[in-house]
C-alpha cells in the first residue's frame, strides 16, 4: 500500500496498532481541511504492527494528548519533503480539556463549561486524578 509522501506536514509514527482513530478524535483532526492519512497495521520492526497518521499541513498539535495516549509515539515535522524536526513525547504532568470526569458527583458534570483538568499522580501506572474531585483514571 502506498501513501504519497508529504512536502510540509506532520507524521505521527510508532502509534500502537489500533490507537490511531482515538488519536484522530482526541486531536480533532476531523476538523482539518487538509489531507489526513491514517495507516493502520503497518509493519514495524520495533512494534510488529503500528499505526501512522500523516497530516498534510504543519499545525499546532496538542502534544499532551499524544503523550497521554502513548508516550512512545514520535512526531516528525516535515518541511520541503525532509524531516526537519523529531519530537519525543513524555507523559504530561497535567491534562487540560482532554479527559472528561465520569464521576456524576463532580462539579464538572453539573457545570460542563468548566475546563477539565487531570493531574498525573502515578507515572508508573499512568494514573491521573481529576483536579476537582480526585477521581482516578488509568490509561
Amino acid at each position: 500500500m502506498k501513501i504519497d509522501s508529504i512536502q510540509n506536514g506532520i507524521v505521527l509514527d510508532h502509534i500502537k496498532a489500533g490507537a490511531s482513530m482515538e488519536i484522530y478524535q482526541l486531536l480533532g483532526l476531523h476538523k482539518l481541511d487538509c489531507s489526513v492519512a491514517i495507516i493502520k497495521n503497518a509493519k514495524s520492526s520495533k512494534l510488529g504492527r503500528k499505526d501512522i497518521i500523516k497530516i498534510d499541513e504543519i499545525i499546532d498539535l496538542n502534544l499532551d494528548v499524544l503523550g497521554y495516549v502513548d508516550p512512545g509515539i514520535t512526531v516528525d515535522i516535515i518541511r520541503n519533503g525532509e524531516r526537519s524536526e523529531k519530537r519525543h513525547l513524555s507523559l504530561p504532568s497535567k491534562l487540560v480539556n482532554v479527559l472528561t470526569c465520569k464521576n456524576p458527583r463532580c462539579i464538572t458534570t453539573a457545570e460542563p463549561h468548566l475546563k477539565s483538568e487531570f493531574v498525573l499522580t502515578n507515572p508508573e501506572q499512568r494514573t491521573y486524578c481529576c483536579a476537582y474531585c480526585d477521581t482516578e483514571y488509568h490509561r
Binding site: 464521576n103 458527583r105 463532580c106 462539579i107 464538572t108 458534570t109 453539573a110 457545570e111 463549561h113 468548566l114 499522580t121 502515578n122 494514573t127 486524578c129 481529576c130 483536579a131 476537582y132 474531585c133 480526585d134 477521581t135 482516578e136
Partner: protein, 305 residues
C-alpha cells in the same frame, strides 16, 4: 492568595500553628474579641448544614467581624442557573473571606478559579471537609495531648464520608498512627485513598467488618453516619444505615481511655445512653470546632496577634 480546599493544603507546621492559636483563643478569648473588626465572612451554603455554618458564623462574630451569606442554594442565584464561579466572583466584591459548602465534589476548586478573596472549603459532597478535620485534630490534641502514637478506628460510611477521607489524609502525616477501617464491604474506604495516601505514607492499617473485634485495641473511635444524601438508591441506604450502632454493651471491652468522636449529626449510630459515658467526646468536639475556625479565619486573613 491562600485558599483551603483540602487538609493537605496545610503542612503539619501550619496545623501546629492553628492548634496553638485555637488553644490560645480558648485561654484568652478577650485578646481576640476585636481581631476581625470591620471584616466580613460570607458563608455560601449550597447544601444544608447546622454545625459547620453556625460555627463559622459564631467564630467570625466572636472575632468581632460580620457575617453574610445564604444557607441553601434556593435562596441564591444558583436557583436561576448561576455557576459557582460567577457566584463566588460576585461575593468576592462583598466579603473579605468565603466559607462555602456545595453538594458537588470539587466545587471549591471551581470557585477559586474566579475568587478574589480566600476561599475555605466547608465541605464538597463526599469529597473533602478540611475544617471538620481541623476540628478533629484539635479534639485529638486536646484529649490525648499529641497527634502521634495511637490507634484510631474509623467506623461506618468510609466510602462517601468526606470527614473520614480528610482525617485519614491528615493523620497519615504523623508518626505512629495506626488505622482500623470498620465498614460493610459496600462502604469501604476508596481505593484512591489507599493507593495515594496510606501506602505512600507507610501507614499501618486493617479493614474489618467487625466493630466488636476492633474495639479493645482502639485509642480513638471515630464514628460516622451513613449519609442518605450520598445514595442514588434508597434501598441501599436502608439496607446499610444501621450496620453499626455504638451502645454501652459494645463499649464494655473498650479501653477506659478511649475517646469517642463523631463529626455529627448522628442519627442512630451512637445511642443517647453513650452520651453519659465520659469517653464520649463528640459534643466537646463541636465546641472545639468554633475555636479552630476562629484560628483559621485569623490565619487566612493574615491577622496575627
Amino acid at each position: 492568595m491562600q485558599h483551603l480546599l483540602n487538609i493537605t493544603d496545610l503542612s503539619t507546621q501550619d496545623i501546629d500553628r492553628l492548634i496553638a492559636t485555637a488553644e490560645d483563643i480558648m485561654q484568652n478569648p478577650e485578646k481576640y474579641r476585636d481581631a476581625c473588626r470591620y471584616k466580613k465572612l460570607a458563608t455560601l451554603f449550597f447544601e444544608p448544614s447546622t454545625r459547620t455554618r453556625l460555627s463559622f458564623e459564631s467564630a467570625m462574630m466572636e472575632l468581632g467581624g460580620n457575617v453574610l451569606g445564604f444557607s441553601e442554594a434556593n435562596s441564591s442565584s444558583t436557583a436561576k442557573g448561576e455557576s459557582v464561579g460567577d457566584t463566588v466572583r460576585t461575593v468576592s466584591c462583598y466579603a473579605d473571606i468565603i466559607a462555602m459548602r456545595h453538594p458537588k465534589e470539587g466545587a471549591p476548586y471551581a470557585a477559586i478559579q474566579t475568587a478574589q478573596v480566600p476561599v475555605i472549603n466547608a465541605g464538597d459532597g463526599g469529597h473533602n471537609h478540611p475544617t471538620q478535620t481541623l476540628t478533629d485534630l484539635l479534639t485529638i490534641h486536646r484529649e490525648r495531648g499529641s497527634l502521634e502514637n495511637f490507634t484510631i478506628g474509623l467506623c461506618g460510611d468510609l466510602k462517601f464520608g468526606r470527614t473520614v477521607h480528610s482525617l485519614v489524609a491528615a493523620l497519615s502525616r504523623y508518626q505512629g498512627v495506626k488505622m482500623v477501617f470498620i465498614s460493610p464491604p459496600e462502604l469501604r474506604i476508596p481505593d484512591y485513598i489507599i493507593t495515594n495516601v496510606l501506602e505512600p505514607a507507610g501507614i499501618s492499617y486493617v479493614q474489618t467488618e467487625s466493630l466488636e473485634e476492633a474495639m479493645p485495641q482502639l485509642d480513638i473511635l471515630y464514628v460516622t453516619r451513613v449519609q442518605r444524601e450520598r445514595f442514588f438508591n434508597e434501598a441501599d441506604y436502608i439496607r446499610l444505615k444501621d450496620t453499626y450502632i455504638v451502645d454501652p454493651d459494645k463499649l464494655i471491652h473498650a479501653k477506659s481511655s478511649l475517646v469517642i468522636m463523631h463529626p455529627l449529626p448522628r442519627v442512630n449510630e451512637i445511642t443517647p445512653e453513650v452520651d453519659q459515658d465520659p469517653r464520649a467526646r463528640y459534643f466537646q468536639q463541636v465546641a472545639y470546632g468554633k475555636y479552630i475556625r476562629m484560628a483559621l479565619i485569623l490565619d487566612m486573613l493574615g491577622i496575627h496577634l
